[in-house]
């Protein structure tokens, strides 16, 4: 079984002797006035998945494209598999796989033709039937790119990125714009790559995706890293066990002030999202009973009350004061 997974994954197992797959130091990139990436350091260890999380314009794509050798950094160092772009560009290209955020394959080509074309660029790698199998496009072998659904196109793109059995795979928003089912299929592919020991660097807007796939996370905003660690560790920085979200009846507006709420025992932080109030709390029970008492005492009515375990989204909002997606 383990063997079968290995064969399907299309990824080379990590080398035993080696240092980190990716090492980045003080990376900076400016476009005129805009500083897209403002000094970023990180490492990606072999056989792990690093998630790069951040809102639109955070600098994720710019960072990844500097790692892929597509964009020249203004400052800083990039080391891929212990190699540098300046000296070993060709060798790096043989050993990495990339799916770009925006590129499209020609409509008039068939799926297998696209794969065969890209396969011909690499010294060694999978054969295209294997690749088709890995990304679940075996029946679409002879279909024109034009006739593929969005999810299928995205899987083709990932299939192309896996053709050379890369040691590192870069996936830039592989699931943006896909419906939940298509998204899940992409996740399964990434999980198979990980199971075979591949190194993955993934950018995403989706917390759920990051929590499911990433071993380590970096949250970026305005070109800077604002948090890093395992998903659990990052969530733990909230120092909260629950998030309590409630809203009062229409017209109640801001009947409860920040001071009122902070006075409740166990409330760490407060923010408002439209009509509702979100409390980050340590002890949900006590806060909720305190909240009920307060509402009753003021003669207000509770319209909606929900609690959930804190997520990365909560961390993100508490760090930046804004939501991850422009929705």
């Amino acid at each position: 079984m383990g063997q079968a997974v290995d064969n399907l994954s299309g990824v080379a197992p990590p080398l035993l002797d080696a240092g980190p797959a990716v090492r980045v130091r003080g990376l900076v990139k400016r476009f005129g006035e805009v500083t897209a990436v403002a000094g970023v350091d990180f490492e990606v260890h072999r056989g792990t998945c690093l998630g790069l999380l951040g809102p639109n314009g955070a600098g994720k794509t710019t960072t990844v494209e500097m790692l892929e050798g597509l964009t020249e950094p203004d400052e800083g160092e990039v080391e891929i598999l212990g190699l540098t772009w300046r000296r070993d560009a060709r060798e790096i290209r043989e050993r990495i796989g990339a799916q770009l955020q925006e590129s499209k394959f020609p409509d008039k080509l068939r799926v297998r033709e696209v794969l065969r074309l890209f396969r011909s660029f690499f010294r060694d790698g999978a054969d295209i039937d294997e690749a088709l199998e890995t990304v679940g496009l075996a029946e679409k072998r002879d279909a024109y790119v034009k006739t593929l659904s969005g999810g299928q196109k995205q899987r083709l793109s990932i299939g192309v990125a896996l053709l050379n059995n890369p040691e590192i795979v870069f996936l830039d928003e592989p699931t943006t714009g896909l419906d939940p089912q298509a998204r899940r299929r992409v996740w399964e592919i990434v999980e198979r790559v990980k199971a075979a020991g591949g190194t993955v660097l993934l950018t995403t807007h989706y917390m759920e995706e990051a929590e499911r796939l990433a071993d380590d996370l970096i949250i970026m905003d305005h070109g800077r890293v604002i948090a890093r660690g395992t998903p659990a560790a990052i969530i733990a920085t909230l120092n909260a066990e629950s998030v309590v979200q409630f809203s009062l009846g229409a017209g109640a507006g801001r009947a409860l002030t920040e001071e009122d709420l902070l006075a409740l025992d166990g409330v760490n932080a407060i923010r408002r999202e439209g009509a509702s109030v979100v409390l980050t709390v340590r002890h949900a029970h006590e806060v909720i009973s305190g909240l009920f008492a307060l509402i009753e005492a003021r003669g207000l009515a509770l319209e909606d009350l929900r609690t959930h375990r804190p997520t990365l989204e909560d961390v993100f909002v508490s760090l930046t004061g804004k939501s991850l997606r422009d929705e």
């Binding site: 290209r93 499209k104 080509l109 033709e113 011909s120 660029f121 690499f122």
Partner: protein, 347 residues
């Protein structure tokens, strides 16, 4: 995989992409044939059409109509009014108006002297009037020239081949490149170890694949259907055409080497090709342009290609005799290609 496999796959993809684009196939293979047929029909007749004339009303006009109508080269058109005649002359619907002179003197001719047709009509009218008077003009002995190779279609056809090589080279390559760039496919390829040289070379190679088809179809049609002569050797013809195709492929790559969008690329290509459509002697000889401009016109790649094609096809010239033209083509092609590769925008 090997460099060869990479080149083969890149070329294969180019060929597929082209063959699956019906419009491209039309412009490369069908359009030149349509053009040749239409022009061939238009210039088919062995002798020039008769001159169309009108006779203005007045004393003696009936006798004029009779005298002119007797000539093979003239056809008298009836008109209701004199005004209608003048309008027709202005528009070139008739070539001359003959107005009887009061008192029976020599008639007055209204012709447009800037048109060849006007001059032809004048000569025919003079001839017809002399014959009617019973004193025909003395006529030199005429030997008719009907040899293959001197008809307009024979002049035109090599020009059409040249124009087609230019058009397909530039459009074929320009569009494919601009499209690849606009779809960010170029960047996607840059992440792989693809050799940039193979990428450019594949465009040249795909051109050669189509060139063979294109020449076989277009030249075959010219030879068998229109009877255009191919006096030179097949080798000479193939060499000149191949060099021409590669030259324009290079020029095509250069033209779009920085264009970001398809629209921009298409504007640039028209800008580059337009002067050559007009000046390089496709439809009429460039000798008609002012003398000072001719040395420059001769330096244009399409002029060189058309001249070499005509020399080889119509006069049976050897390749060696086309040194100057081939050199011009080679320089344009090589310089364009080298500059293009240097300034090429991959983003």
């Amino acid at each position: 995989m090997s460099r060869l496999a990479e080149l083969r796959e890149l070329t294969r993809v180019r060929v597929y992409a082209f063959l699956r684009e019906p419009e491209a196939v039309f412009w490369v293979f069908v359009f030149p044939l349509v053009l040749a047929v239409v022009l061939g029909l238009a210039f088919r007749s062995a002798r020039p059409a008769p001159s169309l004339v009108a006779v203005a009303p007045g004393e003696g006009s009936a006798a004029l109509v009779e005298a002119l109508g007797a000539s093979d080269g003239l056809e008298v058109e009836p008109f209701q009014t004199e005004d209608a005649m003048r309008v027709a002359l202005r528009r070139g619907a008739i070539d001359a108006i003959v107005e009887p002179a009061p008192g029976g003197g020599e008639p007055i001719l209204h012709i447009d002297t800037t048109r060849t047709e006007g001059e032809t009509a004048r000569l025919r009218i003079v001839e017809a009037l002399a014959a009617a008077r019973g004193a025909p003009l003395p006529e030199p002995v005429v030997r008719e020239q009907t040899e293959k190779g001197s008809r307009y279609i024979d002049f035109l056809f090599p020009g059409l081949i040249g124009m087609n090589l230019m058009g397909t080279g530039m459009w074929g390559i320009g569009f494919a490149l601009a499209d690849t760039r606009q779809k960010k496919l170029l960047r996607r390829m840059l992440v792989t170890p693809m050799r940039r040289g193979s990428f450019f070379l594949s465009f040249m190679l795909s051109r050669l694949v189509f060139l063979t088809l294109e020449l076989a179809i277009v030249a075959g049609f010219g030879a068998w259907v229109l009877g255009v002569p191919f006096r030179g050797t097949l080798v000479a013809f193939a060499l000149v055409s191949t060099l021409g195709a590669l030259t324009f492929a290079g020029l095509g790559v250069l033209t779009v080497s920085r264009a970001r969008t398809i629209e921009g690329a298409s504007g640039l290509m028209n800008f580059v090709m337009m002067p050559m459509w007009l000046a390089s002697g496709v439809f009429f000889s460039y000798e008609r342009f002012p003398d000072v401009t001719i040395p420059f016109i001769k330096l244009l790649p399409l002029t060189a290609l058309n001249d070499a094609l005509r020399n080889v096809m119509l006069d049976g010239a050897s390749v060696v005799g086309q040194g100057r033209e081939l050199l011009i083509l080679a320089v344009w092609g090589a310089v364009s290609f080298l500059v293009a590769v240097r300034i090429f925008r991959w983003e």
